[in-house]
């Protein structure tokens, strides 16, 4: 009796969570399909569903270039972070050397560092050395966002790997390279991949550096471009177009979440609080 009632409660509670998480998302999707007067009709859903805003968005150079910038900059900084973090995390998880804890502490200190505190000096420096409004001008500060979390997440993953298996394979006659490729790579790949997704989310989400260190569509990423978005003409409200652009940039991350839900949760929590 008791357990049946609590099962019902749990289902209700789960539904509430799903409503909580999806409500604003459904709203912005609905807004992005509104056309003309519908935008200001103060209703949740449009009276006519229309793709017009999406056409506008993809005809706007500001948005398409921002999309290109965001994808390029986020991917490059993710790649660099993951490569550097893999080396460091391997050392932390497997080797014995003094200063190991210092590396982790430094990473933690940088993870909590306020981005806006280094925007001023970077703004000044980038203008002097010509990195202002360029891809490298954003990739470099993005490393300060993605590298610390990548080191933490990866060292937590690497600690779980049964490294003895490498030696076991060698005893069984595998060469060093075979042991590495056939045993270690498959074990380490999921952790590296999950770390890459989390790092990508962080770079994709950045707004502070995006608006402070760019001025044209040369390097301006999507979140910053959204804040400068105007409608098709000066006289049109940008509301619907911004919503459509927001939906477009949300789709890739939602797909990543749907595909790799379990791994992302493991990456965020497994490392986050010691079990």
């Amino acid at each position: 009796m008791r357990s049946k009632r609590s099962t019902v409660w749990m289902i209700v509670a789960s539904l509430l969570i799903v409503v909580y998480t999806l409500f604003p998302v459904v709203w912005i999707i609905s807004l992005s399909f509104k056309r003309g007067d519908d935008i200001n009709n103060q209703k949740f859903f449009p009276t006519h569903w229309s793709w017009d805003n999406y056409k506008t968005v993809f005809d706007t150079p500001l948005f398409t270039s921002a999309l290109r910038n965001s994808i390029g900059i986020a991917l490059i900084s993710t790649f660099i972070s993951v490569v550097l973090a893999t080396l460091a995390a391997y050392a932390i998880a497997r080797l014995d050397f003094p200063g190991k804890k210092l590396v982790l502490t430094a990473a933690l200190a940088i993870a909590i560092f306020p981005a806006i505190s280094i925007v001023t000096p970077l703004f000044n420096l980038w203008r002097i050395i010509g990195l202002y409004d360029t891809w490298p001008g954003l990739i470099i500060p993005y490393l300060s966002l993605t590298l610390p979390i990548a080191i933490w997440t990866l060292s937590a993953f690497f600690r779980e790997i049964p490294w003895e298996m490498e030696q076991a394979a060698q005893v069984d006659g595998a060469t060093t390279w075979q042991a590495f490729r056939k045993v270690i790579v498959p074990l380490a790949a999921p952790g590296v991949f999950t770390t890459a997704i989390i790092a990508f989310f962080i770079a994709w989400n950045d707004f502070v550096y995006g608006i402070s260190l760019t001025s044209t569509d040369n390097a301006r990423p999507v979140p910053a471009a959204l804040a400068f978005f105007t409608g098709e003409s000066q006289f049109q409200q940008p509301t619907a177009a911004i919503s459509a652009a927001a939906v477009v940039v949300t789709i890739p991350v939602v797909i990543l979440v749907l595909l790799f839900q379990r791994r992302i949760v493991a990456g965020l929590t497994n490392g986050a609080v010691k079990g």
Binding site: M10, I11, A13, S14, I17, T21, L22, P24, W27, I28, I39, N40, Q42, A85, A91, L95, D96, F97, G99, K101, L102, A106, A107, L108, A109, F113, P114, I116, S117, I118, V119, T120, P121, L122, F123, N124, I140, L143, L147, W152, S155, A156, F201, W204, F207, V208, V222, P223, A227, T250, V253, V257, Q261, R262, I264, N270, G271, A272, V273, K274
Partner: protein, 312 residues
């Protein structure tokens, strides 16, 4: 460098005592360890330690980007200007208010979510996937979604609740919507950290308490919460620091109008909009010191044990 030393509660470098002679193998392992971590450490220091030191230096000058020739050394004058200005204290007050409200609400909702996720059997995958969606959505997108929901022309909120309130015309209602967006976006992260903490509570202690006839509340207060105190404090520390840096939501919704300016926004406005590099640097340094102070309060005052964090 300041960041690392102030943050470490105790000197963490373990000095190997009683092992004066290292074997060649151990020495080679050390060298490899240093070589592999060096690139990451150098990059991290180059992109944060150098700029913050540079910010400290720039904060001692009266320096406008539009007038580089007029740059002059003025010592701590920028700091006295800021600290005697109501604008700074207003921004600090607003930031603290947003931080305390959002973190407190997130702790309660996040804990409830964690309890549900811990117990749920049906549709576990669905709930966990759903909870990740706000986490993965760009903060600016969340800000626009909530902004348009409350805006008096495009929003449905006013018609649902039958008012014609101008939400972004006054301070308190603006702050309410800003907090709403911030809470929606970051509660999932909090709940995942708390879920990991819940998993640490020993099952047999729960059962023993249940056998002894403890009620749900008694078990919660006497068994569950004390056992996950470490996880709660770490989640609180991370979220407090994050909330104190709030920028995106405020920028999108009000640009700091009507008394909603936060410390980050103040720094942005001095530097980027007004190109007052000297003054902006001083605000940045003060913001950094606030973050260090928050860490100090958590670690010394609330005894947050950071060795519980992430695999160390």
């Amino acid at each position: 460098v300041t960041a690392t030393t102030t943050f470490a509660p105790q000197p963490e470098v373990a000095v190997p005592t009683g092992k004066p002679h290292l074997s060649d193998r151990a020495r080679a392992e050390r060298r490899l360890g240093w070589m592999l971590s060096a690139p990451a450490v150098i990059v991290m220091l180059a992109v944060t330690a150098y700029p913050i030191v540079n910010a400290v230096y720039l904060s001692l000058f009266n320096y406008r980007l539009t007038n580089p020739a007029g740059r002059e050394f003025i010592g701590l004058k920028n700091y006295t200007v800021i600290l005697t200005d109501g604008l700074w204290w207003g921004a600090v007050g607003t930031t603290l208010l947003i931080t305390i409200v959002t973190v407190a609400v997130e702790l309660v909702i996040g804990f409830a979510f964690a309890l549900v996720m811990n117990k749920v059997i049906f549709g576990k995958g669905v709930v966990r996937t759903a909870i990740l969606i706000p986490y993965a959505i760009i903060t600016v997108v969340s800000a626009y979604a909530w902004y348009y929901a409350f805006a008096s022309n495009s929003g449905f909120v006013n018609s649902w609740f039958n008012t014609d309130r101008d939400w972004f015309g006054q301070r308190w209602s603006s702050l309410f919507v800003i907090c709403l967006s911030e809470i929606w976006k970051t509660t999932p992260f909090m709940s995942l950290l708390l879920l990991a903490g819940l998993a640490q509570v020993p099952e047999d202690m729960q059962e023993a308490a249940m056998v002894d006839g403890a009620t749900w509340w008694q078990r919660m207060w006497r068994v569950t919460l004390p056992n996950m105190k470490g996880a709660i404090m770490v989640a609180l520390l991370f979220r407090t620091l994050d909330a104190f840096r709030i920028f995106d939501n405020v920028f999108v919704m009000t640009q700091g109008a009507n008394g909603t300016e936060t410390v980050s926004l103040l720094a942005y406005r001095q530097t980027i909009s007004r190109t007052e590099i000297g003054l902006g640097s001083a605000v940045s340094v003060l913001l950094f010191l606030c973050v260090v102070l928050i860490c100090f309060i958590f670690i010394k005052g609330f005894r947050t044990d950071l060795s519980k964090v992430r695999g160390s």
